[in-house]
Symmetry: C2
Subunit: 283 residues, 2 copies
């Protein structure tokens, strides 16, 4: 996975001016958990697909995730100086290059999908993959969630608004990653839908656990300033529902995810293990 | 065209939080010349395609152009308060929403292409369109050009670097617009290549004329502060080659464009007229 993420933007494949390349590579090698691409591959595996042929599409999802982190960290957004213990892109490369590195990664994700269409037997599948990623990344997904998140800072928001933010800002791309895996594996519409429902719940649980870790964590453990959500007056699950209820909610969602995956039998074991990891992880 | 640009993000088609929708619509209705989508339609017409079925794809190109203007105007980039006589997006909606409106328009462009794939008989064409747009918008196109442009500010640059910036930042998307039109019209590879060559020269001429107008213009005529390139110490054709040589270069390029279009016969008349407009326009 790590190799592939850089290989798809190697100089023989991508014409990238030097400073921009540095910025893109810097953010792609920042020690992320790669949870989204791994989920894509595991979802594809649950439906019986060949994981090797899904690799470029898994990287495309990680590019979209990485773009969103770069833009979210900008001074005009969350204004974060550190992520995973390293300086954020704009602190190293300046705001202009950081914005452009994000733009470039988002764009490259779509090129990667289209470039690798020959790996997919049915050309209509590639179209469906573009729809999934563009919907998850766009106004009905990550961008929409981020706008509402920013507008909610410092305000008292309802549980519904908080779930809207989490489902859009975080869960949408995780849901899309699972659906894309299932689509690439040639899954029937019912299978793709079932995997997608599981992905939505998994994504929400992931963000709730992130909220919990933000409260509990320390700089050393999380690699970013602990309690940064609170500092920024961001609404979180623990703030709204309390830590214990948040933990219960995350565990409930993961239980539901695993129930939804039962129809896929033994092939969904890696996906179920990832679901457990999401709720049990310490960082 | 104006109607279509807004229709594809109407509430029944797109789920967009209110403030973000306002920002996207604000920039899409800012009185642009719509040169890129019109060029796409005319290129498709030159190859014998049905312009009506190309409309969503033409809008996708304008979304990409609009996203690039919003991001280029940001304080971290060109720091422009006005464009076409109106306040820029970040002056009206704040930087965060402006960045996100740009992100959303770029993303929506790809969704629009994928959503409208059924209008295109050959599904492989849609894949080719995504490659064209992602290549033109990405590191080997607009983003690459913008990075080099920003890094060149205040420096003495060579004629080669200036042409690199113009060919990437401006000409790449114009070239892609023409190629996409030809692709959608079912053009043979040779026809797409010929149209693309014409598009590259047309795009470069367009930017040279923009440089000339920036020197000559006034706030009233251009809708942005005249001489803003000079103020920002941007390298331009007139600064490097002089006004008269720049005008000659633009006319030479347009002559070459029209020569390249001769193979398409009478059907390329609208495209030739647009080429003349590009070099003769006063704003």
């Amino acid at each position: 996975m790590e190799d592939s993420l850089l290989r798809f933007l190697s100089p023989d494949r991508c014409d990238i001016p030097g400073r921009l390349r540095e910025a893109m590579e810097y953010s792609l090698t920042s020690g992320g958990k790669r949870i989204r691409p791994v989920l894509l591959l595991s979802a594809g595996g649950a439906v019986g697909g060949d994981e090797k042929e899904m690799l470029p599409f898994a990287c495309a999802v990680e590019y979209i995730h990485t773009y969103s982190l770069i833009h979210d960290d900008l001074p005009a957004m969350d204004d974060d100086d550190y992520r995973r213990g390293r300086l954020t892109s704009h602190k190293v490369f300046g705001e202009a290059v950081a914005i452009l590195a994000g733009d470039a990664l988002l764009t490259l994700a779509f090129r990667l999908v289209a470039d690798n269409a020959p790996l997919v037997p049915d050309p209509h599948t590639v179209r469906a993959v573009v729809v999934e990623l563009a919907t998850a990344a766009g106004t009905a997904g990550m961008v929409g969630g981020q706008v509402v998140d920013i507008e909610s800072e410092g305000k008292t928001i309802t549980a519904e608004t908080l779930e809207y933010i989490h489902r859009h800002k975080t869960a949408a791309l995780i849901r899309a990653a699972l659906r894309v895996g299932a689509l690439l594996a040639g899954g029937e519409p019912a299978a793709v839908a079932a995997i997608g429902e599981a992905g939505g719940d998994l994504g929400l649980a992931f963000q709730i656990v992130d909220d919990i870790l933000d409260v509990e964590g320390s700089l050393a453990e999380l690699g970013k300033t602990a309690g940064s959500d609170e500092r920024k007056q961001k609404a979180t699950y623990p703030a709204l529902h309390g830590l214990e209820a948040s933990r219960r909610q995350a565990r409930m969602l993961i239980g539901r995810v695993k129930e939804r995956l039962q129809v896929f039998g033994a092939r969904s074991a890696p996906l179920c293990a990832l679901a457990d990891y999401v709720v049990e992880r310490k960082s």
